[in-house]
C-alpha cells in the first residue's frame, strides 16, 4: 500500500515539475511550485523524515510561494521570449539524464540497512543520544549538539542572506521615500474587503502562532525545532499582512524589532557557544552549562533552538517586508 502511494506521489511530483517548466505564465508556475513542495513534503513523510517534511511544507509551500509572488508583482507575470537553442538544451539535458540514470544502478538498494550511509556516524548518533543528551528526537540532538557547528554556520548563512536582501531592496528604489509616503497605500490594504478570507485568516493566525511556539519548544520530543518554528511564525505574520495590510503588521512587529530579533538570535547561538569556553570547555560544548552534563546539553539545545527560531523568523519576515514595501516600476 505504501509502495503504491509512494509511486503515485512521485509520479505527481514529476508531472507538476513538467507543468512548471512548460507553462509560460509565471503566476501559474509559482502556484504549481507550491503544490510541488507540498507533494515533496508528503514524500519526505513517507520516507520517515517527519522533521524535514514539516520544514518543507512550511518553507516551500508557504513562504517561498509568497516571496515568488512578491517578486512577480515587481517584475512581470508572463515569460515573453520563446526558448532559444531549445533542441541543443534538450539534447544536453537528455544525455545528462541518461548518465545519472546509469549511475543509479550502482546505488545501494533502497532501504538496505547495510548501505554505506548507515555504516558511518548515523548508528552512533542513534545509540549515544539517550546516553549523552537524553532527548527523544534524535534529529534535534544531532542538529543541536553533535553537529552544532554546522547549524551555527547555517544560521549565519540565513542571516547573511537576509542582510543581502535588505541591502538590495531597501532604499534607492525608483520612487523616492517621500513620494512613497505621500501616495496612499492602496495596494497595502490587502484583502480587507473580502469577508471570508479575512475572517478565516483572523481565526487562523493565533493558532498558527501557537502551533509555531509548540513546534519551537516541543522540538526535543517530537518533530520540530527552531527552523520549522521560525518558518511557521513568519508564515502567520505574512498571512496577517496579506489580509490586514502590511502597515498593520509593521505596527505589531516593526522593522527595528525584526532586526533586533534576527541579531539577537544569532548572538544567542554564538553566546551559548562562547559560554562553553568561559566555563572551561570547548566552543559549543553545552555539557558544562549545568552541573549535570546531560542537563547541560538539554539546556544548550533549548537555547540554541530558540536562537535559530528567532533568526529564521526575523530574516524571513524582513525579506517579506523588503519585497512588499518596494514600489513597482
Amino acid at each position: 500500500m505504501t509502495v503504491l502511494f509512494g509511486i503515485f506521489l512521485l509520479t505527481l511530483v514529476v508531472i507538476t515539475a513538467l507543468g512548471i517548466v512548460h507553462t509560460k505564465n509565471l503566476f501559474v508556475a509559482v502556484m504549481l511550485l507550491g503544490i510541488f513542495s507540498l507533494l515533496i513534503a508528503a514524500n519526505f513523510f513517507l520516507l520517515d523524515a517527519a522533521d524535514v517534511a514539516l520544514t518543507e511544507a512550511a518553507v516551500g509551500a508557504g513562504i517561498s510561494t509568497v516571496l515568488f509572488l512578491g517578486a512577480l508583482a515587481l517584475t512581470s507575470e508572463r515569460e515573453r521570449a520563446a526558448t532559444p537553442h531549445r533542441w541543443l538544451s534538450l539534447a544536453v539535458v537528455v544525455s545528462a539524464t541518461l548518465v545519472v540514470l546509469y549511475a543509479t544502478f550502482d546505488k545501494p538498494t533502497f532501504g538496505d540497512p547495510n548501505a554505506p550511509v548507515h555504516q558511518h556516524v548515523g548508528p552512533w548518533y542513534l545509540e549515544k543520544t539517550p546516553e549523552y543528551v537524553d532527548i527523544p528526537n534524535v534529529v534535534t540532538a544531532v542538529l543541536g549538539t553533535f553537529r552544532g557547528y554546522d547549524t551555527l554556520g547555517e544560521v549565519f548563512v540565513v542571516f547573511t542572506a537576509g542582510i543581502g536582501v535588505l541591502f538590495l531592496l531597501s532604499g534607492g528604489g525608483p520612487a523616492s521615500p517621500t513620494e512613497r509616503r505621500a501616495r496612499p497605500a492602496e495596494s497595502a490594504i490587502g484583502l480587507r474587503d473580502d469577508l471570508i478570507p479575512r475572517v478565516v485568516a483572523r481565526l487562523l493566525v493565533p493558532f498558527i502562532l501557537l502551533f509555531g511556539l509548540y513546534v519551537q519548544f516541543h522540538g526535543e520530543y517530537g518533530p520540530g525545532g527552531g527552523f520549522q518554528a521560525g518558518a511557521l511564525i513568519a508564515a502567520a505574520f505574512i498571512l496577517y499582512a496579506l489580509v490586514e495590510g502590511e502597515g498593520r503588521t509593521l505596527e505589531a512587529l516593526p522593522r527595528k524589532a525584526l532586526m533586533a530579533l534576527t541579531v539577537a538570535g544569532a548572538l544567542l547561538y554564538g553566546g551559548v557557544g562562547l559560554a562553553g569556553i568561559v566555563l572551561g570547555s570547548e566552543f559549543l560544548d553545552y555539557s558544562v552549562l549545568a552541573s549535570n552534563p546531560v542537563k547541560g546539553q538539554q539546556i544548550g539545545i533549548i537555547l540554541i533552538e530558540l536562537g535559530v527560531g528567532m533568526t529564521v523568523t526575523g530574516v524571513l519576515l524582513s525579506i517579506f517586508h523588503a519585497f512588499a514595501a518596494r514600489e513597482q516600476t
Binding site: V3, V52, T55, T104
Partner: protein
C-alpha cells in the same frame, strides 16, 4: 520495495534534469530561479531516500517505537537546514532579479545582454 527504490532514484534523476533544463534553456530569470528550486528539491529527495531503512521509522524515541529500527537521522538534519538556507538564497536571487528589472526594464536574459552591448 525494490521497484520503489529504483523509482525513487529515477524520479530524482528526472527532477534534477527538469530543473537543470529550466536553468540552462529558459531566458526568463524568475523561471531560472524556479528551475533552481526544482533542482534543489531533487537533491533533497535523493538524501532523504538514502536515509530510509526498510522497516524503520522516524528517528524519535518513544514507548511505541521501543526496539524498532530507525531511519538514519544524519541526512535528515543536513536537508532540514538546507531547506531554510535554500529559501534564503532564493530570496537573495529574487532580490537581484527585482533590481535588474528596475535597472534594465526587463528580466529576459537576451534583452539584458542586448542592452549591455549597446
Amino acid at each position: 520495495m525494490q521497484l520503489l527504490g529504483i523509482y525513487h532514484y529515477w524520479v530524482f534523476a528526472v527532477l534534477l534534469m527538469i530543473g537543470f533544463y529550466a536553468v540552462v534553456a529558459k531566458v526568463n530569470l524568475v523561471k531560472k530561479l524556479i528551475g533552481l528550486s526544482i533542482f534543489q528539491a531533487a537533491v533533497f529527495l535523493l538524501y532523504i531516500t538514502m536515509s530510509k531503512v526498510s522497516g524503520g521509522t522516524a528517528p524519535i524515541f518513544s514507548e511505541s517505537a521501543a526496539g524498532q529500527l530507525f531511519s538514519n537521522p544524519l541526512p535528515q538534519v543536513l536537508i532540514l537546514t538546507a531547506i531554510v538556507v535554500g529559501i534564503s538564497t532564493t530570496a537573495l536571487g529574487l532580490g537581484i532579479v527585482v533590481r535588474i528589472k528596475e535597472r534594465y526594464g526587463t528580466i529576459e536574459e537576451h534583452e539584458i545582454q542586448e542592452i549591455d552591448r549597446r
